[in-house]
C-alpha cells in the first residue's frame, strides 16, 4: 500500500507543488483551495477530493502536519522542516525549467 503513498524520489505534480507552496503559511483546507485559485487567476484549481488525497499523502510523507482547530472546527495544516526542504528544491527545479523555456522562447521570437 505504501507504494501509492510515497513521495520519495518523485517530483511534485502541479497540484502538489501549489498545495505545498500555499502552506508556507499555515492554512486550513478551504484556504488552500482559495489561495491557489487567486494566486494563479484560476489557471490552477484544486477540487476537494484532489486536495484531500494530496494532503493525506503529504501527512504520511511528513511534509506537513495537522495543527490546531480554528473557531469553525476547521484544522489548519502547517509545513514541516522536511516539507520546507522539498518545496525549496522543487521551486529551484521549476525556476531552472522556466529559464530553459525562456532561452527557447528568445530563439523562437528572434527567428521571426
Amino acid at each position: 500500500m505504501s507504494r501509492n503513498n510515497s513521495f520519495t524520489e518523485e517530483q511534485l505534480t502541479d497540484s502538489s507543488y501549489y498545495i505545498l507552496l500555499a502552506l508556507v503559511k499555515p492554512m486550513h483546507g478551504y484556504g488552500i483551495m482559495q489561495y491557489i485559485e487567486e494566486l494563479t487567476s484560476k489557471e490552477t484549481i484544486i477540487g476537494p477530493a484532489t486536495l484531500y488525497t494530496i494532503l493525506k499523502k503529504m501527512q504520511d510523507a511528513e511534509f506537513i502536519a495537522l495543527g490546531e482547530e480554528d473557531n469553525n472546527r476547521r484544522k489548519t495544516y502547517t509545513i514541516t522542516e522536511k516539507g520546507k526542504e522539498v518545496i525549496k528544491k522543487e521551486i529551484h527545479r521549476r525556476i531552472r525549467m522556466a529559464e530553459h523555456g525562456k532561452k527557447a522562447l528568445s530563439i523562437l521570437d528572434g527567428g521571426k
Binding site: N4, Y30, I46, G47, P48, A49, T50, Y52, T53, L66
Partner: protein
C-alpha cells in the same frame, strides 16, 4: 401528507459511474432527490425540481478524519448525501461548482483505492466460501443435518456469485485507473 419515494437499482459504479451521475441529475431536475443508497440502488425523495450535479468519491475515511474530509467538500460547495460503509461517498452541488477531482493523478488514485477495497472484499468472500463449503461437506457427509447442509450450500452458492461479480468490478476499476495514467 404521505412522503413520496422512488427506487432505482444501480448497475454497479465500476461500469456506469458517469451515466449514473447523469441519471441522478436528471432525477433532481424532475424533483426527485437522491438521499440514500440502499439495496444496491438509489432512493429518491420527492421535492422541488432543482439542477444539481452529483459526484462519488472512493476514500476510506477513518472516524477521526471524517470531520476534516466532509468539511473540505462542504466548504467547496459539495453537500454530502450519504456513504456506503466508510469508503464510498456521494455528494451533490450546483452545476457551476468545480469538480471534486481536478487532476489526473489523484483521479487515477481514486480508482486504485477502489480496486484495493474490492480486493479486500474478494479476500473476505473467499474465506467465507472456503469455510461454508467445508461446513457443507461436514453437514452433508459426517454430521448429516439437512437444514444446516442446505444453509451452507446456499451460502457457498451465493458467495460464488458475489465473487464473480467482484472480480469483474475489480478488473473494471483497474482498467479505469490505468486509462488515466
Amino acid at each position: 401528507m404521505k412522503e413520496q419515494t422512488k427506487y432505482r437499482p444501480s448497475m454497479g459504479l465500476a461500469f456506469n459511474e458517469d451515466r449514473e451521475m447523469i441519471m441522478l441529475r436528471e432525477m433532481a431536475n424532475k424533483g426527485w432527490k437522491f438521499y440514500s443508497y440502499k439495496y444496491l440502488g438509489y432512493k429518491f425523495k420527492k421535492g422541488y425540481p432543482e439542477d444539481l450535479i452529483y459526484s462519488v468519491d472512493m476514500h476510506t475515511v477513518k472516524k477521526d478524519e471524517k470531520e476534516q474530509y466532509f468539511n473540505l467538500f462542504e466548504d467547496a460547495g459539495w453537500a454530502h448525501i450519504c456513504s456506503i460503509g466508510n469508503s464510498i461517498h456521494y455528494f451533490s452541488a450546483p452545476p457551476d461548482t468545480k469538480p471534486i477531482y481536478t487532476d489526473r493523478d489523484t483521479l487515477s488514485e481514486k480508482y486504485k483505492k477502489g480496486t484495493r477495497d474490492v480486493i479486500k472484499g474478494i479476500a473476505v468472500i473467499i474465506m467465507i466460501l472456503v469455510l461454508s463449503s467445508l461446513l457443507n461437506i461436514v453437514f452433508d457427509r459426517f454430521l448429516v443435518n439437512d437444514v444446516l447442509s442446505l444453509i451452507t450450500a446456499i451460502i457457498t452458492g451465493g458467495s460464488i456469485g458475489l465473487l464473480a461479480a467482484m472480480i469483474v468490478t475489480g478488473i473494471m476499476l483497474k482498467i479505469k485507473s490505468g486509462k488515466l495514467h
